[in-house]
């Protein structure tokens, strides 16, 4: 808190008072003044000073392009309300220029922390630098940006490689370390597809009996997942012991293909996929899916925890992996009602 920001706060408070005559604003100015006074007396007091109630956070969301994103947005908004954080939320509708505008407006409003899910990886240096110059810490959520590390405080997001490893481990447990696996890869070249691909392989190298006999892109969609699985079944048929799908939707498509082929998904062909969306839980309840590895969009709680730590000057890691679980059919019926996405 520098002198200028205190002056600003008083000025704005006074202005609003005089304009609106609203009584609720009146305590706001002294509140902003108080920590500054503490700081002058004892700098250490500031550390414990901030709580969720006096945290102001600007969040520049990408948009609402998928169910996953919608769940992500809801989690952040709901958590802000629960904690009493003042959230300034901006939806960029998949446009970088909108996100940049939003970040600039957050800087102008002097928020405490800015959260952003960069829609693309590049082109952020200038605006991130502006935030840094204004002394506002920046947290990347869910997606990374190609900028020097000092421009942001931390990245909160999934470890796709770890998801792949967990899927590989789950597969090994289900198959008893032995079996022929076909793989439905995500969109070629996308980070989740690349990382889930390598993570899975890393995990199963320990099991020489496990072999990936075919790997093909299903583009993360049900239709493609089904089409490719049909072709796998025609080529390899009963040889296939298991399927690893990079997301639940492709697995759901493949389940249909397996059923039409006359085999039992989940029994004749074991299936492990990633994401843990509602549809996957429904499939597990029906016994058609053996395991799904979570890719968690509900980042709200972790995000605000981080934001508070950052504001209070606590050390945080450059990368905070989101908390994610691995789910099996036994838990599915119990968990389905709690799934928000």
């Amino acid at each position: 808190m520098n002198v200028r920001s205190v002056l600003y706060a008083i000025l704005i408070g006074a202005l609003m008072l005089s304009l609106v005559g609203c009584t609720t604003v009146a305590p706001a100015a002294p509140a902003a003044e108080a920590p500054a006074g503490d700081q002058a007396a004892a700098p250490a007091a500031e550390m414990a000073g901030k709580t969720f109630e006096d945290l102001v956070v600007g969040y520049a969301q990408i948009g609402a392009e998928s169910e996953w994103r919608t769940a992500n947005t809801q989690s952040i908004k709901a958590e802000a309300e629960r904690l009493g954080v003042e959230l300034k939320f901006s939806d960029a509708q998949q446009k970088q220029e909108n996100q940049i505008k939003a970040i600039r407006s957050f800087i102008a409003q002097q928020v405490d922390v800015i959260g952003v899910s960069p829609v693309v990886e590049t082109g952020w240096e200038t605006v991130f630098q502006e935030a840094k110059d204004a002394g506002i810490p920046l947290i990347l959520v869910d997606r990374r940006a190609a900028v020097p590390e000092e421009l942001y405080v931390t990245y909160l997001g999934s470890d796709f490689v770890e998801e792949g490893r967990r899927a590989g481990q789950a597969m090994a447990d289900i198959l008893g370390g032995e079996g022929k696996i076909v793989e439905l890869v995500g969109t070629v070249g996308s980070a989740p597809a690349n990382d889930r691909y390598s993570g899975f392989r890393e995990a199963i190298t320990e099991y020489p009996g496990m072999e990936i006999i075919a790997s093909q892109s299903g583009d993360f969609t049900r239709a493609k997942g089904k089409e490719v699985m049909e072709a796998f079944l025609k080529s390899y048929g009963d040889e296939i012991d298991a399927l690893y799908a990079h997301n639940d939707d492709m697995a759901i498509g493949a389940i249909q293909a397996i059923e039409e082929y006359g085999l039992k998904p989940g029994e004749d062909i074991k299936i492990v996929s990633v994401d843990a969306v509602r549809g996957a839980f429904e499939a597990m309840i029906e016994g058609k899916l053996n395991c799904t590895v979570e890719c968690n969009p509900l980042l709200g709680p972790q995000f605000f925890d981080l934001a508070l730590k950052v504001v209070n000057g606590e050390e945080v890691a450059k990368w905070v992996p989101s908390e994610e679980g691995v789910y099996f059919p036994e838990q599915a019926a119990e968990l389905l009602p709690t799934r928000q996405y």
Partner: protein, 343 residues
């Protein structure tokens, strides 16, 4: 010599010749390298095998290609077929609803409303092209972009899953041991063929495509011919949308029919219809669509690494399109003549 050359020429000038050659090459490749490709079995009382997959998965593309043939023959193009399929998939699944074994709307009504929406899309395209005189590529680009947005609005940006088994019949059902989609394609093809080849409408379409203004002065209502072509095209795309959503029991507004307009245009071109309009071949377009689907299925069956799939596909396309080029024809002619002399 003359008889052999003319036999060759007659064959080569048949619009179905090159698509058939290309299809034969792809199938020949499969015969050698993917041994299971031609295996057909009876499972659950219906035919089962890669060839059936080609026909079944190729159905939406064949439908779009049939519709696009009419539009391209009028010297137009319709870029919105993929988006129209997405809208119709969204409408159909929304009407069916997501309650197990129950449909929110009677199935015949679902089909009627969905196809009605498709026809509205076609009217929009057709009016922009024929009445507002906007270039077809630009006019249909509007719906190509907006259509996907509309589809997302209808689905609230979510993937809608349906659980009403009778609805699955369109995309995954079997009739007389064959995929039901085949019968849909056959019916649409027959309808289009009868209308264009057994009435004067086909001739009108070709004349509008060759020279719209002289057709107008000869008394052909070129505006209405174009309008009908776009409506028919969207209608076909709408059926494709129903098939796609029915097959995967869901509608994903982001992905239904994505980039299929490009495959469909390619199918029409491979089928021997010129982008500049005029003469067209419905059967050629269907063969073109089958060729594209065969290549896709072959790639999956053969196990081409995913990162080179697009390159392999484009090489096949390049090869096929080269067969059509004028210098290639001349070279082939020479070759044929020389062989004739030697014989």
């Amino acid at each position: 010599m003359t008889s052999q050359a003319s036999w060759w020429e007659r064959l080569r000038n048949n619009s179905l010749f090159w698509p058939l050659v290309a299809l034969a090459l792809v199938m020949g490749f499969n015969l050698l390298f993917t041994p299971n490709f031609f295996r057909l079995e009876i499972k659950d009382g219906h035919l089962f095998g890669s060839l059936v997959d080609v026909l079944n998965r190729g159905a939406p593309l064949m439908l779009m290609a049939i519709g696009l043939t009419a539009v391209i023959a009028t010297a137009g193009v319709d870029l919105s077929v993929g988006a129209v399929a997405a809208i119709c998939a969204a409408v159909a699944t929304r009407l069916v609803g997501n309650v197990t074994d129950v449909t929110a709307t009677p199935l015949p009504l679902v089909i009627l409303v969905t196809l009605g929406v498709a026809i509205l899309c076609g009217l929009w395209n057709g009016l922009l092209v024929s009445r507002a005189n906007i270039q077809p590529m630009v006019a249909t680009l509007v719906l190509m972009v907006a259509g996907r947005g509309i589809a997302q609005l209808i689905t609230d940006g979510q993937i809608i899953t349906v659980y009403y088994p009778p609805f699955f019949y369109f995309g995954a059902g079997y009739l007389l041991g064959l995929p039901f989609t085949l019968f849909i394609v056959a019916a649409v093809f027959l309808f289009a063929w009868l209308i264009t080849r057994r009435t004067a409408i086909g001739l009108f379409v070709e004349s509008v495509g060759t020279n719209a203004s002289s057709s107008y002065y000869s008394g052909v209502n070129e505006k209405n011919i174009k309008l009908v072509a776009y409506v028919f095209c969207s209608f076909c795309a709408g059926i494709a949308g129903i098939i796609i959503s029915s097959n995967v029991k869901s509608a994903d507004a982001n992905n239904v029919g994505l980039f299929m307009e490009l495959d469909a245009i390619l199918a029409v071109v491979i089928g021997g219809t010129l982008m500049s309009g005029g003469r067209f071949s419905l059967a050629g377009s269907v063969l073109g669509a089958l060729l594209i689907q065969s290549v896709t299925t072959t790639i999956y069956a053969f196990g081409v690494p995913p990162e080179v799939v697009l390159v392999v596909k484009s090489l096949v396309v390049l090869f096929v399109v080269l067969l059509y080029s004028e210098p290639m024809k001349v070279a082939l002619d020479k070759l044929a003549r020389r062989k004739g002399v030697q014989a």
